[in-house]
Amino acid sequence: MHNLTIKQMSEKLHAGEITSVQLTQHYLDRISQYDAELNAFVTVTPELAISMAEAADKMLAAGNGELLTGIPIAHKDIFCTDGVKTSCSSKMLDNFIAPYDAYVVEKLKKVGMPILGKTNMDEFAMGSTSESSYYGPTKNPWDLNAVPGGSSGGAAAVISAGLAPMATGTDTGGSIRQPASFCGITGIKPTYGSVSRFGIVAYASSFDQAGPMTRSAEDAAWMLNAMAGFDERDSTSLERETPDFAAELNQPLKGLKIGVPAEYFGEGLDSGVEDVVRNAIAEVEKLGAETVEVHLPNKDLAVPSYYVLAPAEASSNLSRFDGVRFGHRCEAPKDLEDLYKRSRSEGFGAEVKRRIMVGAYALSAGFYDAYYLKAQKLRRMVRDDFTKAFESCDVIMGPVAPSPAFNIGEKSDDQVSMYLSDLYTIPVNLAGLPGLSVPAGFVNNRPVGLHIVGPYFSEAKLLNIGHQYQQVTDWHKQMPEQYQ
């Protein structure tokens, strides 16, 4: 059952060939079987999943089912889920059960998608490997020695190993696309503001954006249709009619202009990855597209800008974790100062502390202009690069990450090297643009993704390209042998 596309599953559910309870139980069984070694889930919710599946079966039987009704899902542990622990993979929130649902959770619940559990991630979404989780690292299903990427590493591993047909992710600085690339799945970060941030534990508010993580572009389109929409509870939510992201799936690609930025194929890019990406672009050209060279001259400013702005926002967003109202509270505080210091020292891991300190420093009196304001200027320059590039092309293609998944522990002592591995994804977050990663091949038996970036609101076009590419390739259908 786990090899079916979403559309096939939906057809079987609506035809009564399978029930949601059967489908959900199938995935729960696979989770029991495989998650011990993958550590992709922080929490598995079998009872909730089955009771939701029963409700979904009733909806289907009554003819009230929608396309995704009855199809189970796994939520990244950053989405608040009423009555279920939402930890953000942090000791700080190890005891936190939200009394409300995130907008995305609420919406997908209404559609009737049973919740299998909450997936592992980098603590507070700060990381590119899922190693900073309080609950230990998630393993890459393609190679248990490799990281799955991050921060949505649990979600990517879950889809890759077939432990759920769909998963939610969030992408602040590549956190959907990079793990999608590392685990050989499809993930899209929509235009900033497309999906409400209400109920998503905030990391860096001006970057955070939720998106689907699935096996194919087509599946992602169906899921994005169900996730997106204006939400008055998020002031940065886009007030517009939500388009049908699947509407353009079957359009031919004839005449498509692909921008290939020279800067994305320079020094530091693994030659194997480069071959995979160039072959993928050539494949799309065969479908009638043409390539043009474009330039993103300020690419190298993106990572430094991001690592000032995101920590600055994070340092403020994470101030609420003070041991007073929720979350970790130290034993027997002597006084207020002691309560703050120990609760936070004990509750946060090293990477979170590092980013809080970097961010607080960048905002402090005397440094604000040199760091925060300058980083905002760089952010605009990076965005302007894209605007200019899109004058001569429809979409930009390149690598998602400079290498395939690296080994667990390989970069955990070298933060700068790890930060730099996000050099292709971060510019897209700075600009707020949509970006898609689709599986495009392997290097040393580890998956590699093709990165497709478009102008604002071009999600339907990106998914169209992804889908057309997946009609002529089968990278997205491949699964690690032991999980088939």
């Binding site: 989405f79 608040c80 939402t86 953000c88 929130l93 936190f96 939200a98 009394p99 409300y100 995130a102 941030r197 209400f198 109920g199 998503i200 534990v201 905030a202 860096a204 508010s205 001006s206 008055e232 509870r233 998020d234 002031s235 940065t236 600055a312 926002e313 340092s315 403020s316 994470l318 101030s319 609420r320 003070d322 007073v324 109202r325 929720f326 207020l336 703050y340 607080a360 905002l363 402090s364 009196a365 604000y368 925060y372």
Partner: protein, 476 residues
């Protein structure tokens, strides 16, 4: 060698919205602790602020009243500091792009007019309250107030005495209530005044300032500032230095004492709040607010003098609050504008005295403008005298009915029948022969005595004008 005093005020006016500035929770005063604190107010993970649009129009109206620039692009910033009654670990406020820019307010101190600059007014959320001592050994946190919308109105350092500072604060207090943007209740903390006080020798740069916070009456603000000026002079003249700090006023001992020094102050690490978009205010938005703005106190005062011929003093008293002014105008209207001065006299004496005595707001008075006008109409048409009217007013105040009902029930109608008055005059003159002789002998003050006796005999109901006229005829 004299000292020059420099005072600037920061006023926090709580805006009269139904709900909080970034959440739907009620801001009603006095609810049980934490009963008006939602997940947003508690700063729960994943919660986001949504601006209450009502605060924008209210701020614009103050800006217009102060002839200030309106911030066409108004930005919310985060002021980061940790305290248990600040749930998110930052206060959402405005730093660089406030909603109201430079403006001014004219004050009047003992007849001297002075224009005080208003630097800016910005929107922000209030913090909660820490209650020490409720729970033994711990502090109780009440987040009902957290997120209450405040407009912080910052003056230029333009005031040079406690009197001027209080005149400015009172004028602002009157203005925000006129505009209907703040209820002005100082006891409940809806209108809070912080004073920055420093002294210097004329021509020298500003001295170090101290801040006097949260004093909840104008009288105490005046006393606190006066004390603080004296204290600073003493410190400096004794060779010391004023320390920049916040000082609390102790009304029982009429002194100020140090609360916290600015050296311990936080670095607030302000930055634009990424959860809120800048508010863009168009010319149309401003015009829409302008169209619904009430007449402002100064304009009203000038109009009352020119339109109704009132004295400056009466106009001042009547425009002291918007409710009072509106009540007065309703009375004038219901008396067909026959004698606005008489209406003003009754408003400033009888009516004002009665509400003060019973400690009532104008809107809670037991009589309506129409009822008061009903009585004044009877004075104007000579049905009752001013003296009888006092009796009627009191009866109306006590709920005995309208003026006409009371006059009828108590038989208070003025005697205007010439025959009846003549009979009274004749009777009094006949009974006071010696006084009549005295009058005729040149003691003209006896006239007052006769009038008094006649009025007494009539039970106050004789028309005094007619009595006077007839007496003069009889005695000539």
């Amino acid at each position: 060698m004299s000292w020059e005093v420099v005072i600037g005020l920061e006023i926090h006016a709580q805006l009269t919205t139904q709900s909080k500035i970034f959440s739907g929770s009620s801001i009603a005063y006095g609810a049980s602790p934490n009963s008006q604190a939602s997940a947003i107010d508690l700063g729960m993970p994943g919660m986001l602020p949504v601006l209450n649009a009502g605060v924008i129009d209210k701020s614009i109206s103050l800006g217009l009243a102060l002839n200030a620039e309106i911030g066409r692009k108004s930005v919310f910033d985060r002021k980061n500091y940790m305290y248990p009654d600040l749930p998110k670990g930052y206060q959402t406020t405005q730093l660089e792009f406030p909603i109201v820019g430079q403006g001014s307010l004219e004050i009047d101190v003992d007849g001297e007019k002075k224009v005080i600059g208003v630097t800016r007014a910005h929107l922000e959320e209030d913090a909660g309250k820490s209650n020490h001592g409720v729970v033994p050994g711990m502090s109780g946190i009440d987040l009902n107030r957290a997120g209450t919308p405040l407009l912080e109105i910052v003056s230029d350092p333009d005031m040079s005495s406690a009197k001027e500072a209080v005149a400015y604060a009172k004028k602002m207090h009157e203005l925000v209530q006129y505009l209907g943007i703040c209820d002005g209740n100082m006891q409940e903390g809806s209108f809070r005044v912080d004073s920055n006080v420093s002294i210097r020798k004329p021509g020298e740069p500003f001295g170090t300032r101290t801040e006097l916070k949260n004093i909840n009456s104008f009288r105490f603000i005046e006393k606190a500032i006066e004390f603080e000026i004296e204290r600073q002079i003493e410190v400096i003249e004794n060779g010391g230095e004023v320390v920049q700090e916040t000082r609390l006023y102790d009304s029982e001992n009429d002194t100020t004492r140090s609360m916290r020094s600015k050296e311990e102050a936080n670095d607030y690490r302000y930055f634009p709040c990424p959860d809120l978009l800048p508010v863009i205010i168009t010319e149309e938005d401003i015009q829409a607010v302008k169209a619904t703005m009430p007449e402002l106190p100064d304009t009203k005062r000038i109009r009352f003098v020119s339109e109704f011929g009132l004295s400056d003093y009466d106009a001042e008293v009547l425009t002291g609050s918007r409710d009072m002014a509106e009540f007065f105008e309703a009375v004038v209207k219901a008396t067909d504008n026959k004698d606005a001065k008489l209406c003003a006299n009754w408003m400033t004496s009888g009516f004002a005295a009665a509400i003060n005595k019973d400690n009532l707001a104008v809107t809670d008075a037991p009589i309506t403008a129409e009822m008061l006008a009903g009585m004044l109409n009877r004075i104007m048409d000579d049905t009752i005298s001013g003296k009888i009217a006092k009796q009627v007013f009191e009866a109306m105040w006590n709920g005995e009915g309208t003026a006409d009902e009371i006059i009828e029930a108590k038989g208070l109608k003025q005697i205007t029948d010439t025959g009846a008055i003549e009979a009274l005059v004749d009777e009094v003159l006949a009974n006071n022969q010696s006084q009549v002789e005295a009058y005729k002998g040149g003691q003209e003050k006896m006239m007052g005595y006769f009038v008094g006796q006649i009025m007494k005999a009539s039970g106050g109901q004789a028309n005094p004008g007619q009595v006077n006229k007839m007496l003069k005829e009889k005695l000539s």
